[in-house]
Amino acid sequence: MKVTIVDYNSGNISSVINSFNEVAKDKVNIEVTSDLNKIKSSDKVVLPGQGSFKSCVYALNKINGLSDALNEFAITHKKPLLGICVGLQMFADVGYEETETKGLGWISGKVSKIDNQNGKYKLPHIGWNQINIVKDSKIFKDIENNSHMYFVHSYEFVPNDKKIISATTDYSSNIVCSVEKENIFGTQFHPEKSDKSGLKIIDNFINL
């Protein structure tokens, strides 16, 4: 089994690497790379993402053939892929952070700024919030409803098809914080920073 964490200069991925290594121990091979052939030959792919939607999309597109390789992996071959934070957001058609930017278009929808209700809610949404599991997701095996996860973001993914939403969290409104569409998984929160519950989600993904 080979799990690849895509390294495309999307900001700090050390914590993602550390958490996957912690869970995988010596049983699973965790590779960190942007090599297209290595990605294509993986069993599972993790797409992290920090910073803005625009900067992550730009970083992804800067590596020749990367978005095609990811398309081939997740859409053509339908192999399991997990997007984290902006990694999830990039599944959308379009994002509006900094400027209008085209996403991967895997899950129809947009990424827009959280409504802070005229300053009532501070942004970024930083800290531990509870997730409301609205649909069984394979990555939520043995995860209790209302578990705490660590969030840090100012933008939210608004998918058109609500059926792909697997969990929401309450901040200003019901923010989509996890999706599952066939082989494509995503979390707005950071499982790598969410203590034992987060590591369990990573374990679930590795063991899919």
């Binding site: 700090n12 550390n18 912690e22 920090q50 501070k122 942004l123 800290g127 919030n129 969410s194 203590d195």
Partner: protein
């Protein structure tokens, strides 16, 4: 519902934990990696390392501490002290820090905040404001509290938010190490002024002070050092106490 965070802070010097009383008189309280692990197992919502003498001494020890800690603790890790440039930030993030806290450099060269928040995202850029009361206002101090910049802390808070800071770590110099409680007035004024989260710091002596920081000071998170690492209270005790006062915490 978003929970209020409790953040134990470990002051680190030459790879060992210390805590200053009013930034001087240092005591040794152990190994930072082990301490951080105890805190995260005990329910700390984040861990903060402050490399207190980093401006003057060899910094390599902190990189090693961060590397080791990030392999053992799976809650956010913030590292501050002696960060001068985007490259310093890059190095700490690569070692496994999730956020960095910038103090002196943010005052002297606001471009560091602007550039680093663009490069790494505001989510990992915390600006630390060390403020001391002077008459009716508070002034921003730099260099570990040694230099008075003369800048008004409230105006500075607003300006640094616009420059891309994701959070503010506000320390009252008057209260730090005194254990008489946060400067609530300062916390409240800054928190009301900005739209980003404020972490209250400086002066915690008992658990009621943590409660006050959140309910009266309107802080999103409370940071404390000595009440935790000399074993006076555990993080869990603190959380249970806050919970009993109706404050939302992660238990």
């Amino acid at each position: 519902m978003l929970k209020n965070r409790i953040i134990p802070c470990l002051d680190v010097k030459n790879g060992r934990v210390v805590k200053g009383i009013n930034f001087v008189e240092l005591k040794d309280a152990g190994d930072p990696v082990e301490q951080a692990k105890i805190y995260s197992d005990g329910g700390a919502d984040e861990i903060c390392f402050l490399d207190i003498t980093a401006s003057n001494e060899n910094r390599d020890t902190i990189y090693d501490v961060v590397k080791k800690t990030s392999k053992k603790c799976f809650v956010p890790l913030t590292v501050g002290g002696g960060i001068r440039s985007v490259e310093d930030i890059n190095k700490l993030l690569n070692c496994g820090a999730d956020k960095v806290s910038i103090n002196t450099a943010a005052v002297e060269n606001p471009k560091v905040v602007l550039d680093s928040s663009k490069k790494f995202g505001s989510q990992c850029i915390v600006v630390a404001i060390d403020a001391k009361k002077n008459g009716e206002k508070w002034e921003v101090f730099t260099h570990g509290g040694r230099n008075n910049s003369g800048i008004d802390a409230l105006e500075y808070a607003k300006q640094i938010e616009e420059n891309g800071a994701g959070e503010l770590l506000v320390t009252s110099m008057d209260r730090d190490g005194t254990q008489v409680g946060y400067d609530i007035d300062l916390m409240y004024k800054i928190s009301s002024k900005v739209n980003i989260p404020v972490i209250a710091s400086g002066g915690v002596g008992n658990l009621d002070h943590l409660v006050d920081g959140i309910t009266k000071g309107k802080a999103s998170a409370v940071l404390a050092a000595s009440i935790f690492h000399y074993g006076k209270h555990s993080v869990r005790e603190a959380k249970e106490y806050l919970d009993s006062k109706g404050i939302p915490v992660r238990i």
